[in-house]
Amino acid sequence: MTSNFVKAAIRCNRRSRLLVLLFLVATLSPPDRLFALPSNNTGESVDVTYHSTVSEVRLVFFATDEHNHNVQQLQKDDFAIVDDERVIREFRSFTRSASVNLDVVVMIDSSESVLPHLQQVTADVSQLIFQSPWSSGDLVSVISFSGMEAHLLCAENCRTSFRADQIVPKGGATPLLDALDLATTLLIRHRQPDVWPVILLFSDGDDTISKISFRHVREKILASGTQIYAIDAGNSRQLSNGTATLQRLAGDSGGRYMGLSDGPVKVLNNVMDDLHSGLLVTYTLPKSSSEFHSIRILPTHNLNLQFRCRCGYYSRRVGSARQEDGP
């Protein structure tokens, strides 16, 4: 009994000693040692990464001269951005977007109205996927849409897994806006700051059955910073509602509108030229009373320069910090 009592006392004594020792280590050791922060001889912390929320606008744009040729030697002080009426000339960074990876969703309209051109569209898409000079980090997905819904044929890895026979000529109605919504959701899901989201849309633009409105889709596209290259599979020489829809989607998002009748080589060259000649500028989010910021890029010296970019973006609050949608 006595020995048990002595053993318990010793164990208790050991525990209290251990606690005292831990207390001493905690109070006497420098905090950087305790929390494994590296320090140099002068006692200052080095190689410490601090994280903070940055409110930054990332904008991909294109510059052309009076002959509609891409401007190769554009400098930072050759242009100014009018963001929600404010003229911005100070930029955080300015680079070529060739160094940015692409996240591309190819959308193929396989509805009734496009069936006569579907074979050509399929050939163009195959050529685009297998013969374009993609970078190793580029992602390519393919969506086909007709009837009541859109189908994801392959996601991200279509450069290796896409097969032309996956596009089945189904006919039926055209759920264009629903399919655009799905494509944008897909792009938002794996969105990263250094990835440029792009949609290549092969369609006649005539939506016949979507549940989602044009306004909703347009807002989502602008919020995600996705650029749309619309390739009109209808009669692009005749002005129709479908053509107008495609032109508006392309124009507002900073992309381009082309006709399938221009020929696959010209269409693909235009798209790939654009994807490799884009410029990326970043700047501090300017204060504004509205959530939507309209954007326009104008020259600072040479009025012959033309600039193309999305028509605006939405800024929204996340927690206590503002975060813009981009790039």
């Binding site: 002080d77 242009f79 100014a80 009018v82 009426e85 404010r86 003229v87 000339r89 204060k287 504004s288 009373s289 326009r296 104008l298 020259p299 600072t300 010296h301 040479n302 009025l303 609050r317 206590s320």
Partner: protein, 143 residues
């Protein structure tokens, strides 16, 4: 005939050359720009006082040009009348209009003056607007 042509041409370019050489240009910076309604003035008397007609949906660029002492709000006469948005631009007042020198084109483009503010008043208004926006931001963050 040729001489006459050259004489007329040189006479036309004299005002601009004189303006440039004698330094009558003032300097300013464009801080704001938007597409707004075109001013009625340049459409002429017929539109202003003539019979009612279908309104034309036209928009013209409106710029806020800040100079050391005065701030001008100027409006272009057509939708594609643009000012190069360089850090500093040269301009001069001419017959109730504001002529902006286009550096690369070696010519001027004229704008109608919509509003004018004394610089100190304009600065005070801007500070007030900034303070209001900051307060709104803080309020939103707290909510």
């Amino acid at each position: 005939m040729k001489r006459g042509f050259w004489l007329v041409l040189s006479l036309c370019s004299v005002p601009n050359l004189l303006a440039a050489q004698f330094g009558i240009y003032q300097h300013g910076s464009v801080v704001r720009m938007h597409m707004g309604d075109c001013m009625l003035g340049h459409r002429g008397m017929m539109v202003a006082f003539g019979p009612p007609s279908i309104p034309v949906q036209d928009s013209c660029p409106e710029y806020t040009l800040v100079s050391p002492n005065v701030v001008y709000v100027i409006v272009g006469k057509t939708s594609n009348q643009l000012i190069p948005l360089a850090e500093v631009i040269d301009f001069r007042l001419q017959k109730n209009e504001l002529a902006v020198r286009l550096d690369d084109a070696k010519r001027e483009t004229k704008f109608e003056i919509k509003e004018m503010f004394v610089r100190s008043d304009w600065d005070r208004i801007q500070r007030h607007i900034d303070a209001q926006m900051k307060a709104a931001e803080v309020h939103d963050a707290e909510r």
